[in-house]
């Protein structure tokens, strides 16, 4: 086996590709070859590195030094100073004090344990890290019923928003006897500010595939679809590549591991509609229709895609499954709280010192997430509010920093946890402005099927627009709440039921700001 003195991991994502990451990598390799360092220094293209630096970012091990915004012109200095003389180039470092270590953010975790470490385009690396062992176990040592039971016991709940227990969902579909069942992966991530699923797919596509395989075996589906949004070009190409590798290795296809079980996985590319994140709307879209949600019941687990029993799971949910099968429900329960085991992937953005990606135990407080995983507030800024969960989210104030982030503790706001988006705002941010932007979004994305959402989202926008421009009255504020509560009770799907969350939380926590703009 080859032994390298140092590993340079280059984060390949939408941003770094734009900055010319591929050209950078080949230039770096050329420079290393010139100095005869190719055998000592390993250059690897990988997924998210845990921080959202600008331009091309890299992490160098074993020193664990993070560089951001490095350019081709910097290569000679980088190679001669760091790789020859062993002195990291301070001016390019993300944190020259080296107090902050983004890798820490998901070390020894579940979903992201391979992200930014393995080459996501190489199945051998995934297998080398223990990948597909759970698939083998699920296929050869376990009966479908046992898999469902193990996932039930683990307490895994859906990471898409609704937080429905995954094992229970599977148990509705598993016993149905019919010719065809499906597993559908919801990778139509459209919640504003949310992109954890993209990072999971870019960083470790094989883990998702393994989760899909196990789910398919558990419920008896022989065909799985990944419904992914068209904008996620890199995720699409990495998943396609990963699926191809699985066929070559006999991990997919006919009679896998001579177990008699067949499975095919295919991608479906979406065409841009927020509502398609709703599971029945997603199924409609898969069938080639407008993405209007369906009436429930029957639930998709009984009658879904082409009227066949269909399990719809979120990307992050399925990425948890291989760990559960490999380490057992008890191994999984070591993470998180008793009521809500496991971890949660967050993307932290806004006015924090180190915006980035982290995976924290369920039940970690918001304060810990901001301070420990994102390095606290950006210098010179004070915390004012955090928007958790994107547009269908809640706006929390300083008093609520110690709220535990799990489905149980967030209680009436539990739905917001799924997206994992945390947007931290400083004291200069206007909450009214923020809410205006959120309500504009809902007005645009309402699919128009049901009247409460179609009309309500228009009215909400009209009211917030009035308030924002100083023309509102106190009655308008109350009317916003009334309309959104009515929408919550009467709308057809979760989209129309959501605006109440940002509105109610904004009014509860920042009512003064709305009153200050009221017309005298």
């Amino acid at each position: 086996m080859k032994y390298y003195r140092a590993h340079v991991l280059i984060g390949i994502n939408e941003t770094s590709l734009q900055a010319g990451a591929h050209e950078f990598v080949s230039a770096l390799k050329n420079e290393l070859a010139k100095l005869d360092l190719t055998a000592e220094i390993n250059v690897l293209e990988t997924g998210p590195l845990g921080f959202f630096g600008r331009g091309i970012c890299a992490t160098v091990y074993p020193e664990n030094v993070n560089y951001e915004n490095i350019k081709i012109e910097d290569i000679p200095e980088l190679v001669s100073d760091h790789f020859l003389k062993g002195r990291p180039v301070r001016r390019l470092m993300l944190d020259s004090g080296a107090r902050f270590s983004p890798k820490f953010n998901y070390e020894n975790r579940i979903v992201l344990r391979n992200s930014g470490i393995l080459d996501p385009e190489n199945v051998d690396e995934y297998i080398g890290a223990g990948g597909y062992e759970a698939w083998e176990k699920a296929l050869l040592e376990m009966q479908p019923g046992q898999i469902v039971d193990e996932v039930k016991k683990s307490g895994l709940r859906g990471r898409g928003g609704a937080g429905f227990p995954t094992g229970l969902k599977w148990s509705f579909t598993a016993p149905i006897e019919c010719e065809q069942k499906y597993v559908v992966v919801n990778a139509d991530e459209g919640e504003p500010g949310t992109f954890k699923d993209r990072l999971i797919m870019e960083g470790d596509p094989h883990q998702l595939l393994e989760g899909i395989m196990i789910a398919s075996r558990a419920v008896g589906a022989t065909k799985a679809w990944i419904y992914i949004r068209g904008e996620y070009k890199l995720s699409i190409s990495r998943l396609r590549h990963a699926i191809q590798q699985c066929y070559e290795y006999g991990l997919l296809g006919k009679n896998i591991f001579e177990s008699g079980f067949d499975l095919d996985i295919d991608l479906k590319i979406g065409a841009g509609a927020y509502v398609c994140g709703e599971e029945t709307a997603l199924i409609e879209s898969l069938e080639g229709n407008r993405g209007n949600p369906r009436w429930k019941p029957p639930f998709p687990g009984v009658k879904g895609l082409w009227q066949c029993p269909t399990v719809v799971n979120n990307v992050e949910t399925l990425a948890n499954v291989p760990y559960i099968i490999k380490n057992g429900a008890d191994g999984y329960k070591k993470f998180g709280t008793p009521e809500c085991p496991g971890t949660k992937v967050y993307t932290i953005l806004g006015d924090v010192a180190y915006p980035g990606l982290c995976e924290a135990d369920m039940g970690t407080t918001l304060r810990t997430i901001i301070n420990e995983y994102a390095g606290g507030m950006k210098k010179g800024f004070r915390f004012k509010a955090a928007l958790i969960g994107g547009a269908a989210g809640v706006i929390l104030n300083e008093r609520m920093l110690d709220v535990k982030m799990d489905l149980h503790s967030l209680n009436q706001y539990a739905a917001v946890l799924g997206s994992g988006a945390i947007l931290v705002m400083n004291e200069n941010t206007s909450i009214v402005d923020m809410l205006w932007s959120i309500l504009r979004f809902f007005r645009h994305e309402s699919c128009g099927k049901c009247a409460p959402c179609r009309n309500g989202s228009q009215q909400l926008y009209a009211l917030i627009n009035k308030i924002k421009h100083g023309q509102g009255t106190v009655e308008d504020i109350d009317m916003m709440l009334l309309i959104s509560e009515t929408m919550q009770q009467t709308s057809f799907c979760a989209l129309g039921q959501s605006p109440v969350m940002p509105i109610r939380s904004a009014l509860e926590n920042f009512r003064d700001e709305f009153l200050a703009l009221i017309k005298e």
């Binding site: 734009q18 500010g193 479906k268 841009g272 879209s285 947007l423 932007s437």
Partner: protein, 151 residues
Amino acid sequence: MYQEIMTKYTPTKDNLIYILHDIQDSHPQHYISEEAVQAVSEYLSVPTNHIYGVITFYSMYSTKPRGKNIIRLCESPHCYIKGSENILRKLKNTLNVSSGGTTKDGLFTLELCACLGVCGNAPVMMINDDVYGDLTEEKIEEIVAKLREVK
């Protein structure tokens, strides 16, 4: 021309979204014409009103001719607080179009869109298949100038 694209897919309704993507991408003006809808309708045995329903539902499709470069600027909350309104104004001024419009030379169409999932680099826009992040007004000028040079 449409036949060639369509016959790559089996004539079942679930392939509609794919076929529409391909037809739109193959057209130099990035849109789905009336003739195309007619052809797809015959191929899939699906009424044209269903196809129009689908096209107008999803934000990535257009029934109007568009420019060579389609700019999609994110206007979701995160980009908004990071100043996407200023970027929009700058784009409108630089290109001399309103949102949804196409420049006279047919080079650019300016559209607004919901979250692109690249919020770590807000404000963000996509031009065709490429993402442009950390936008500033100066950067807009550079990007537009560069694309104008490409023949």
